[in-house]
Point group: C2
Chain length 344, copies 2
């Protein structure tokens, strides 16, 4: 969610200040580099909830001991196309980018790389990792499970996290096709925003503590899965897919069992978060040239298709790339707390 009416800052300045704060908190150069890259990605494409505003939180967790300041990543290769990255309880961005690297290395030979990540932590926006693979020419999928906040279909308790599914694919001469979607309709901070504005929520996106759908942001206690009141079983199942690949396959923490990311007393125990990355080499399928031509044809057809009155048809990523261009030109909006934390 974008922050309106906030002070704006140059990406390079933010990159430098975020890196300085993480360095002061003791994070190693390698883990800082990854975290800064992922946070700036999110801040540039407009996902401010996962952008630079998280730096204060990460610094606090580095200080508390939940996050290992100097993680030593290990990679266990179990087959020609599969591996597990042990994140050593450091910043999740470091382990997740490593998983993409390992996945690409596997995919170059095996055609596909499936990489689990365990003993990791919050990775920011999952799209950053799908994008990292696509920028090197690979079709890439990245997912993670997260703290429980979304009800099951017909459920009356927080069960899954907003569990993102992120996909990206290279497009010749264009920025990648990029999908980074939560499996809930809205993020939790949208509820907070509506609460502070005393503004009704859309239908079918949030529920009371009894699981009853509500548009009253003050009554909303949990999110509803994508698909809403009628088709939310699909969104709930997709959240389950994220949990299956990220947690069940890696033997890491289930959504409901996480120590809370925010607000808990314990900031010294690692959360053992899992992620999953899948990397596919188009050269082992139709071939990079044919695949690229097909992507370009598909996107031209999509962008040129008929639009309903007042609407706009966009490919996944188009909105994000436009936002990135706008923010590169006008600066990245930063909330006042983070402005203070960064000494801007």
């Amino acid at each position: 969610m974008a922050i309106d009416n906030a002070a704006r800052f140059d990406a390079d300045l933010l990159r430098q200040r975020v890196d300085e704060r993480l360095a002061e908190a003791g994070a190693s150069a390698e883990s800082r580099q990854a975290a800064v890259k992922a946070m700036l990605h999110a801040s540039l494409v407009g996902v401010d909830s996962h952008g630079v505003r998280l730096v204060a939180h990460y610094c606090r967790m580095l200080g508390g001991g939940r996050l290992n300041k100097n993680p030593q990543l290990t990679v266990e290769k179990r087959g020609a196309g599969s591996a597990t990255v042990h994140g050593d309880d450091g910043l999740g961005h470091y382990a997740a980018y490593k998983a993409v690297e390992v996945g690409m290395e596997l995919a170059r030979e095996a055609g596909v790389g499936a990489v689990g990540v365990k003993h990791s932590s919050h990775l920011g926006a999952a799209g950053a990792y799908a994008l990292a693979g696509a920028e090197e020419g690979f079709v890439t999928f990245a997912t993670t499970n997260t703290d429980s906040v979304v009800a099951l279909f017909d459920g009356a308790q927080k069960f899954h996290g907003t569990n993102p599914l992120a996909f990206a694919a290279p497009v010749p001469g264009q920025r990648p096709w990029l999908l980074d979607m939560a499996t809930s309709s809205i993020p939790l901070n949208r509820v907070m925003l509506h609460r502070s504005l005393d503004k009704a929520l859309p239908e079918g996106v949030a529920a009371t503590s009894a699981g009853e759908p509500t548009t009253d942001p003050h009554e909303a206690e949990m999110l509803l899965p994508l698909g809403g009141v009628d088709y939310g079983y699909k969104g709930a199942a997709l959240a389950g897919v994220a949990t299956l690949f990220s947690a069940l396959l890696n033997g890491t923490t289930l959504d409901a069992d996480f120590l809370p990311m925010y607000g808990g007393d314990d900031i010294s125990t690692p959360r053992n978060m899992g992620h999953f990355v899948l990397v596919i080499d188009p050269d082992k399928f139709a071939g990079r040239a044919l695949f690229g031509a097909a992507m370009a044809q598909y996107l031209a057809s999509l962008r040129g298709s008929a639009v309903r009155e007042g609407g706009t048809v966009m490919a996944p990523g188009d909105r994000e790339w436009a936002e990135m261009d706008a923010r590169r030109a006008r600066g990245i909006p930063v909330d006042p707390d983070t402005v203070r934390f960064l000494g801007l």
Copy 2:
């Protein structure tokens, strides 16, 4: 969608009659075996639109030449974890089950098998193939693209198919976790049903020819993607994921470019449909035992979670397995046209 008030028949009798009709139409033993298995799967779990009612259609296409009666499948292995199955324009079920077999063979060694399918045709319910992998102990994903019938978000033309995403995973001592979802909210035949009953559609599932959302089934010209009027960009992007893996990666036909499955004049030209199957061996990740225990714990937690008044919480597949039990006991409902075609 289930057929109510229809005559019911024993699964074994249907299996035999469907096989006989396909044999009369000239389909080879291998392709018949696959098609019958997939059709019975769909009919048993309640997905009647993809079940035995399709036999007359397949027979017509075998007669017309669109479908090759005696396809010779070829498998091109391009890496330790990747392969492409050439379906030789036969019944899609045959090529798709073959892709799962190849995927499992690859996954046993490489940890993962990513298998593209080209020169295939309609494969019925994608869940049949995810299930085939899960029944052998593998986490399996299957997808296909299909004929355009779903608008883009804010679009005013049919763009993607109802493009299914199917996932399945083994659970020790239980039937698999099984998700087989269209990336639209409803299937097209739901619109037909509401039209025949003159009954309003739910909100946000269908649109007029101008792309305007409508609940009038007589005005509805296309489906809307999962997520509806507010969040349909997510469903549209997920449909794109199916197209990306199935068509773009394999160099096969795009959704809008298919010769129509039904109703076209040309029933002699193959449609070159693509599919994609991903198979993962849990033994190359947390290990089969740990993964199984985690699945069981996750599902127990899910099934035991708090429910909203009047609701029921189910895991993906629970509804389908209950339907299978009911249909095994009471028979499979079959529409009158198919009853006649099968000579029942």
